[in-house]
């Protein structure tokens, strides 16, 4: 434990560094840490600096506990875009370590993310995020059933209001105040709506504002926050009316390009609804109406928590304890291992960090089938992964690809679980057949009924980047996307009847007799091998002709084009 030098210690810090680098997001820190030196050299340099810092801390009477070795290694990284890399001075590393140690509830990779993105606000954002997480945990423990997105957007503002007004001095007051805001906001919104027609008639063509109920709900939370900050109770309705109008105005400004003014709030690829939520978060945070700085912090916290940070609750802040027992899994990967790892790599290939835990939950078979939560993103990940497996099938002999964002231990556990699921049935020895079998057996079902999954994707697509897209076109694309691992699109126009309608009462196809796999049947349950759709079935209830569907599916290169992987023969994940 106290051995400050020597090969054992060096190897241990090296492996902590390896594990940390595995979990850092390349989008944010890749160009900082991996630019000029090889990974090995980087790991060496980090372990070296960390050993020096640790020795220094130890001498000063601050021994580094095992659980903070990840923080120590993180402290040896710098996140300056110009000179990012490894700390050149041990005293700076020690200073950073002390700074990071103030936030024991945030994982090193999340600290890295905030540091890389918002270094100037780091010491305001991280405590705010920790307070938000505490509120969230307390509400969860009390059995709160509020939708996660409501908590995501309201709690940062509650945490900020409590911080600013000092309303919560005791540990128990925060959650109670949050509960009051959530209940009062919902009550105000409902009561106002019950009084007559929805208030803000202006800007109604705007995204999100298209749904007045949603705007009123947000205005309700805002009035409730004002009441919390002011320690008052308002009459409700007039305040809500005025707030709703103000929200509508700020939304309008946020979404309208003003010539000659630099707009910070929207990335060019952001869907309107995303910008709207960011604006809601900012407006809720700026209680009092003029608190620009608070509003901005709340928005940043909201954006980080919902889109970038890896998980809300760091499963294990001691990075060291995550280490696999051997430094590296066995290099001799058998065929099954290779297929499973390729599948996992495909699923993670372009998943946002905030999706990682959702994917892990799914792969561990802990996700209820038919859960809508993040299903559109999981379907996109599935399409990419299946396409990667198909490449493997065409070009055998690949080594397993790098999996980003998973620690060695997480990866090993997942691969073992998935391999076991496949092994129960065994492999055939034919790469082509086994590729399908692995995808089918290793992936738990995401839906038991396909129709609502299609509708969910279509709804998200309609309100996402391509708002105003033709609903029929969106429906065809969503049907193309929602295919289970062993279900395929049949690109001809055969007018086969599919399964017998009597076999699927109420649209539920669980336990029905299997349909001939050569028949296009849109009602196949997850796991049933066969052709899912053809040009005829995929255009059902739309104005599309079979020819129009053929053109759309053959040429489409717009957003979500990964949905068509496996349908467009020449489309590869690299094009998406």
């Amino acid at each position: 434990m106290t051995a400050a030098t020597g090969t054992v210690d060096g190897a241990e810090l090296r492996s902590v560094a390896e594990s940390l680098l595995d979990r850092l997001e390349p989008d944010d820190v890749g160009d900082v840490v991996g630019r000029q030196i090889s990974r090995d050299a980087l790991v060496d340099a980090l372990a070296h600096r960390a050993a020096l810092a640790r020795a220094g801390l130890h001498r000063g009477g601050e021994p580094v506990p095992a659980a903070r070795r990840g923080l120590l290694v993180l402290a040896c990284l710098t996140f300056n875009r110009k000179s990012g890399g490894v700390q050149q001075r041990t005293d700076r590393a020690v200073e950073a370590y002390r700074r990071y140690s103030r936030y024991p509830h945030t994982s090193p990779e999340d600290l890295a993310m905030v540091m890389a993105r918002h270094p100037d606000e780091f010491d305001e954002l991280v405590p705010l995020l920790e307070r938000v997480d505490q509120l969230r945990d307390a509400l969860d423990a009390a059995g709160a059933t509020d939708p996660p997105f409501v908590l995501d957007v309201v709690l940062p503002a509650v945490a900020m209001a409590l911080e600013r007004t000092g309303a919560a001095t005791g540990a128990d007051d925060g959650p109670a105040a949050a509960r009051r805001v959530l209940d009062r906001g919902a009550e105000l919104a409902d009561r106002h709506r019950g009084c007559g027609p929805p208030a803000p008639a202006t800007h109604l063509g705007l995204p999100v504002l298209g749904n007045v109920d949603f705007l009123l709900r947000m205005a309700g939370y805002r009035v409730a926050l004002d009441e919390l900050a002011g320690g008052t109770t308002t009459a409700g309705s007039p305040e809500l009316e005025a707030t709703a109008r103000a929200l509508a105005d700020s939304m309008y400004r946020a979404m309208t390009t003003v010539v000659g003014r630099f707009r910070l709030r929207r990335g060019t690829g952001d869907p309107d609804v995303l910008a709207a939520f960011d604006q809601y978060a900012e407006d809720l945070g700026a209680v009092g109406g003029t608190r620009k700085h608070e509003g901005r912090l709340v928005r940043l916290a909201y954006v980080l928590r919902t889109r970038h940070l890896r998980s809300r609750r760091p499963a294990d802040t001691g990075t060291g304890s995550r280490l696999p027992s051997s430094p590296d899994p066995t290099p001799e990967l058998d065929e099954l291992d290779l297929l499973v790892r390729s599948l996992v790599a495909g699923l993670f290939e372009r998943a946002a960090p905030a999706l990682h835990d959702t994917i892990l939950e799914w792969l561990r078979a802990e996700r209820e089938p038919d859960r809508p939560h993040r299903l559109p993103e999981l379907v996109s990940a599935l399409r990419v992964a299946i396409a990667r497996l198909a490449e493997l099938e065409r070009r055998p002999g690949h080594s397993p690809p790098l999996i980003v964002g998973l620690s060695g231990r997480e990866l090993t556990g997942i691969v073992e679980r998935m391999s076991a699921a496949v092994r129960r049935s065994g492999l055939s020895g034919s790469r082509q057949a086994d590729t399908l079998r692995v995808a089918d057996l290793a992936l738990p079902p995401l839906w038991t009924r396909r129709r609502p999954a299609v509708r969910l994707l279509a709804g998200h697509r309609r309100s996402g980047r391509h708002r105003g897209d033709d609903p029929d076109r969106v429906l065809v694309l969503a049907r193309a996307a929602v295919r289970a691992p062993v279900q395929f699109f049949k690109p001809d126009n055969a007018a086969d009847p599919c399964c017998d309608a009597d076999d699927r009462p109420g649209g539920d196809v669980r336990g029905r007799p299997a349909v001939d796999e050569a028949r296009a049947c849109p009602h196949r349950p997850w796991g049933e091998l066969g052709l899912l759709d053809n040009y005829r079935t995929i255009r059902a209830d739309t104005d599309y002709s079979a020819e129009a569907v053929r053109k759309l599916l053959g040429r489409y290169r717009g957003p979500d084009r990964e949905w068509l992987l496996g349908i467009q023969p020449e489309l590869t994940p690299d094009d998406c």
Partner: protein, 312 residues
């Protein structure tokens, strides 16, 4: 593995999907008015919706761009604090149970997370009302395709639909049916637009002139084919209206029964589309005819529901 360069734009776009909220995400809010007179259910969505009164004391809203979507907002009067039976049936046991729990606890509101199948069941159940609301919505581009068939919903394992009478001025030449007096000469039976069914006078098999209380209006509806199949009857429903006791109107509906064994057929039930709603089975009356009588008490717009239930 190929190293991929991600632009900031890709990254933003890739991240954007996680926060979108549509009705299919299943975030259901139940609110109870302070006086307990109404309950409102809101399935949260950021998409534009249209809302209309679908019958007395029941307002429903739907996403205008989703021809198969669930109700995004339902406001219903709750006499004695309870959901009317028909609305409870359409909401399904889990949602209706949650409303009852809320009422019993005296709470103001609660959240419920529905899964995809539960949302799909709501969408299937509310189809007839959705068709009615979206048809009236000012969004012709996304209006449901015009078919001569009424929309079919699911109802407790069976199917149902709601068919509207033409407006009273069209039917009886008066703003309210309760303006005319008994003995008023019968008007020409009405032929609903889009239902090219041959018209016949009287609406019953009785020879003309022998009816002591001739119908003031009569016409036909087309029962959706799946319902006719289940109930083992023809698709053409004849209806006729006669003045009844105490200023009410008596409606008689009848339909041809299919020949042969009716053992496996579902019962066809009907009722005025009113709050709560009672159901009257169509019973065999005379050879090959199924018939039921309803009482209409209200002078507003009238719709009649049909549903299939377990066979007798």
């Amino acid at each position: 593995m190929s190293t991929q360069h991600r632009t900031a734009e890709d990254s933003d776009a890739r991240d954007g999907v996680g926060v979108i909220v549509t009705a299919w995400d299943g975030h259901l809010r139940v609110d109870r008015a302070a006086d307990g007179a109404t309950v409102t259910l809101t399935l949260l969505t950021v998409e534009p919706t249209a809302e209309a009164s679908v019958r007395a004391d029941l307002v429903a809203g739907f996403v205008t761009d989703d021809a198969d979507g669930p109700p995004t907002r339902v406001t219903v009067a709750t006499p004695q604090g309870r959901l009317p039976e028909d609305v409870a049936a359409l909401l399904g046991s889990r949602v209706a149970g949650a409303v009852a729990t809320l009422v019993d606890a005296g709470g103001a509101g609660l959240w419920l997370q529905l899964d995809l199948v539960e949302v799909d069941d709501l969408a299937a159940a509310w189809a007839p009302y959705r068709a009615r609301v979206l048809r009236a919505a000012p969004s012709p581009a996304t209006a449901p395709a015009t078919t001569s068939d009424a929309a079919v919903g699911s109802w407790a394992g069976g199917l149902w639909t709601s068919l509207e009478l033409p407006s009273w001025p069209d039917l009886v030449g008066a703003p309210s049916p309760f303006d005319f007096r008994a003995g008023h000469s019968p008007v020409e039976p009405h032929r609903p637009v889009g239902h090219p069914v041959p018209v016949f006078r009287g609406g019953t098999a009785d020879p003309p002139g022998s009816d002591p209380n001739p119908p003031v209006a009569a016409g036909r509806w087309l029962l959706p084919a799946p319902m006719a199949d289940e109930a083992g009857c023809g698709r053409t429903i004849s209806w006729s209206l006669r003045p009844g006791a105490d200023g009410t109107l008596q409606m008689e509906v009848e339909v041809d029964a299919e020949e042969g064994d009716r053992a496996g057929a579902a019962t066809l039930l009907t009722g005025v589309d009113d709050p709560g709603g009672t159901w009257e089975p169509l019973r065999a009356e005379g050879p090959g005819r199924l018939r039921a009588r309803l009482t209409i008490r209200d002078g507003g717009s009238v719709a009649v529901r049909f549903r299939t239930g377990p066979g007798s």
